[in-house]
């Protein structure tokens, strides 16, 4: 199986450790992975803000970069949802692009989907001796419907103490450019999310999207709460040999 990594522009630039964790994890599970260097961004910021013509060249670039792979795996629920749900829409008026997108988009999987559905594993051999709570990001939850997959993966991690996050399914208030256009509402939603994270008494907050973690982690950091935000991939990649 030819597996390509879609690391997303956001992870690539700000959270390279997440991408490295995906590589470590998949190689440990016996899979050779490839990072097509032609990839850049799925166009989600442009599309969600109403800039469709600006998003289209990125759709084309994505379809070209990932053509020919059996599967594409990405550590981002919202970018996977963007490709699967919205690339076909953006390509609708261009028959050539429409065919290319139809080839690639269904093969794109968010990390927990890829592990559970494609590779058929839930115990990835990870070790992570911390008290962790899981935030199901909106796009993973409601567009991809990843459901219990991330929790099944986390429950199989050795040494982990998984605690429940109150009001887990409520949005953290990031929403891409929403946080910039409606900063006060975003901050109010963040405040409630942080309160729930603190109520859970977790040391670590994890999620399948670094954008939400950037937002929540940025707030938790500003308040010096001591709670860390760690992407799901990094927990699943952690092993006993590593000191973290």
């Amino acid at each position: 199986m030819r597996v390509a990594l879609f690391i997303t522009c956001f992870n690539d630039t700000l959270f390279p450790e997440t991408g490295k964790a995906v590589v470590r994890l998949l190689e440990r599970l016996g899979h050779q992975v490839d990072f097509p260097l032609g990839q850049t961004c799925c166009g989600q910021p442009q599309f969600n803000t109403g800039y469709r013509p600006e998003a289209r060249p990125l759709v084309r670039r994505f379809a070209e970069a990932f053509a020919g792979y059996d599967a594409v795996v990405t550590p981002s629920g919202s970018c996977a949802a963007m490709v699967r749900e919205h690339h076909p829409l953006l390509a609708a008026d261009d028959p050539g692009l429409r065919r290319a997108v139809a080839q690639v988009a269904p093969k794109v999987h968010e990390l927990s989907e890829f592990l559970v559905d494609v590779l058929g594993v839930t115990d990835v051999g990870a070790y992570y001796p911390h008290r962790v709570t899981y935030h199901p990001t909106c796009h993973s939850l409601r567009m991809l419907r990843v459901g219990e997959r991330p929790l099944r993966l986390l429950r199989a991690v050795k040494g982990i103490e998984l605690v429940e996050l109150p009001a887990a399914e409520e949005c953290c208030g990031f929403g891409g450019t929403f946080a910039v256009k409606n900063p006060d509402v975003s901050a109010a939603m963040l405040a409630d999310k942080m309160r729930h994270v603190l109520d859970s008494r977790a040391e670590v907050l994890t999620a399948g999207d670094n954008s939400c973690l950037l937002h929540i982690g940025g707030g938790l950091g500003r308040l010096r709460t001591g709670v860390r935000t760690v992407h799901l991939a990094e927990i699943l990649a952690a092993t006993e040999g590593e000191a973290r």
């Binding site: 690391i7 522009c9 690539d12 630039t13 959270f15 390279p16 450790e17 991408g19 490839d34 990072f35 260097l37 032609g38 990839q39 850049t40 961004c41 166009g43 910021p45 442009q46 969600n48 803000t49 109403g50 800039y51 469709r52 600006e54 998003a55 060249p57 990125l58 670039r61 909106c138 796009h139 939850l141 409601r142 567009m143 409520e170 949005c171 208030g173 990031f174 929403g175 891409g176 450019t177 929403f178 946080a179 910039v180 256009k181 409606n182 900063p183 006060d184 509402v185 975003s186 901050a187 109010a188 939603m189 963040l190 950037l214 937002h215 982690g217 940025g218 707030g219 950091g221 500003r222």
Partner: protein
């Protein structure tokens, strides 16, 4: 056409929201109320094994009706007329208000009792009647509270959701002439005061004005669904009944009501059945009003219908489930939306009814979290319509001589992201810049346009080596691909 919709969009949503957020009492009232309804709704919807099939049926029924709307409206007009009613067509708010005012004046009356109705609020009917010297008395308890306080409704179903009972007691004591002097804030005492106040109006009124939840094309039957019985009083006691209804409320057959009457009360109040469902077909001798008028209101709906993505907003049955699950609505309440239709449905309905360029900030008043779409009993894909309307707003501004800062940033981002090499260079520049302003791996408060973000959140300093650069360094054999 923006004159059709009252109280529109001043100030824009982000500014209005900021003001609402500062009101801690409001946030507490809203959080408590929406949380209660939300839990109740989930419980009773889970009781029905065929809930998802019902939603699918409702969505299909609504879309089919909208596709053939002219046909069903003509059928409705014929059925209502055959049953002894009179049908009037109103293109906009002004025309609808004029029709209703003239119908009331023709009876020689100077006051009307009203059943809670979104359509009449949308057109500002009470204000229009007042200008003609006619007093409209709201009879729904929450509407009465709002009317007495000279306030605006804050929720489609629970217009006074932003008020707690201590506030309601104060409103009754200062604004309701017949309120008892020793009125407490016990819900029972408040309801009793309102009941006595309203009873006298019901018995006196000769004209009633209502909205409609549904109207059946096949039979000419009009329905109102309510909880308090005040509607039943208005619909049966007066001599003349005038119903104002948005043209999208028509359903083809009586049997279609089976689907909607299961979905509506459960989605709206978390009840298995609403206490009062009143249905009437034209007029009947010695039973109910002797004169019935149905005013069919367009007011931007035909224009909305031409948009193949946006038209699904017209499927709304006004249950408010989307308001109660929306994290944005829960924190700011309804007034910030600047329209009688607040929350997620308001964010897609108001800009469409008012036309592009009006209420431009509303499609952006959402994180696209999707909770509204999951809750909607008729499966309106609200996030899809929000993004669709955002694109229309952005496109409407493209022709301008001076481009917006945002459009320049978006274009610049595409320029960078269109080429992996440019992205690599931008990453190097970002890492350098980040290290210049960062401290201890975090970037604190920033000046200028970024201050709103960095006020409450730290940003990580971009790492010195991007993933891309790491991959190229550690996988040199694959770099030629």
């Amino acid at each position: 056409m923006s004159e059709g919709l009252v109280w529109l969009g001043t100030p824009a949503f982000p500014q209005a929201a900021k003001k609402a957020l500062a009101d801690t009492q409001l946030r507490r009232n809203l959080g408590k109320a929406t949380g209660t309804i939300r839990d109740k709704r989930l419980r009773v919807c889970a009781e029905l094994d065929d809930w998802e099939q019902l939603r699918d049926s409702a969505a299909a029924l609504k879309l089919r009706t909208l596709r053939h709307l002219p046909r069903y409206l003509e059928q409705l007009e014929a059925s209502v007329t055959a049953a002894g009613g009179t049908v009037h067509w109103a293109a906009d708010a002004a025309e609808a208000n004029r029709i209703v005012a003239e119908l009331v004046k023709a009876t020689g009356e100077r006051e009307v009792v009203k059943v809670k109705s979104m359509a009449t609020q949308e057109i500002g009917l009470n204000e229009a009647l007042a200008a003609e010297g006619i007093t409209a008395h709201e009879t729904d308890l929450a509407e009465l509270i709002v009317q007495l306080a000279d306030d605006r409704p804050s929720h489609i179903l629970v217009p006074a959701i932003h008020r707690n009972r201590a506030e309601i007691r104060e409103i009754f004591r200062s604004r309701m002439p017949d309120a008892p002097a020793d009125l407490t804030d016990e819900p029972r005492a408040l309801a009793e005061a309102a009941r006595l106040h309203l009873r006298e109006k019901f018995l006196r009124a000769k004209v009633a004005v209502s909205g409609a939840n549904f109207a059946v094309a096949e039979t000419g039957t009009v329905l109102v669904v309510e909880s308090e019985g005040n509607g039943r009083m208005c619909l049966t006691l007066p001599d003349t009944l005038i119903t104002v209804m948005g043209i999208e409320k028509v359903v083809p057959t009586f049997a279609d009501l089976e689907v909607f009457l299961q979905l509506l009360p459960r989605s709206a109040t978390g009840e298995r059945m609403n206490p009062y469902t009143s249905a009437w077909t034209g007029v009947h001798a010695a039973d109910g009003p002797s004169t019935f008028h149905l005013v069919l209101l367009d007011n931007g709906r035909t224009a909305t219908l031409t948009d193949q993505v946006g038209r699904q907003a017209l499927g709304c049955i006004r249950c408010s489930a989307c308001l109660n699950v929306c994290p944005v609505y829960e924190r700011v309440g309804g007034h910030a939306y600047g329209s009688v239709y607040p929350g997620p449905i308001g964010a897609i309905l108001t800009p469409q009814l008012a036309g592009v360029g009006h209420a431009a900030s509303l499609p952006f008043a959402s994180t696209l979290c999707g909770a509204c779409y999951d809750a909607c009993p008729v499966k309106i894909n609200i996030p899809e319509v929000l993004v669709h309307l955002r694109a229309k707003e952005v496109d409407a501004k493209r022709g301008r001589r001076t481009p917006t800062v945002e459009s320049l940033l978006m274009r610049a981002a595409t320029e960078v992201l269109a080429s992996p090499e440019r992205l690599r260079l931008a990453q190097k520049a970002g890492a350098l810049g980040g290290r210049l302003v960062g401290r201890g791996g975090r970037i604190g408060p920033l000046p200028g346009p970024f201050h709103a973000w960095s006020d409450t959140r730290d940003l990580p300093v971009p790492p010195a080596e991007s993933f891309r650069a790491w991959w190229q360094r550690t996988h040199p054999e694959e770099n030629d691909r």
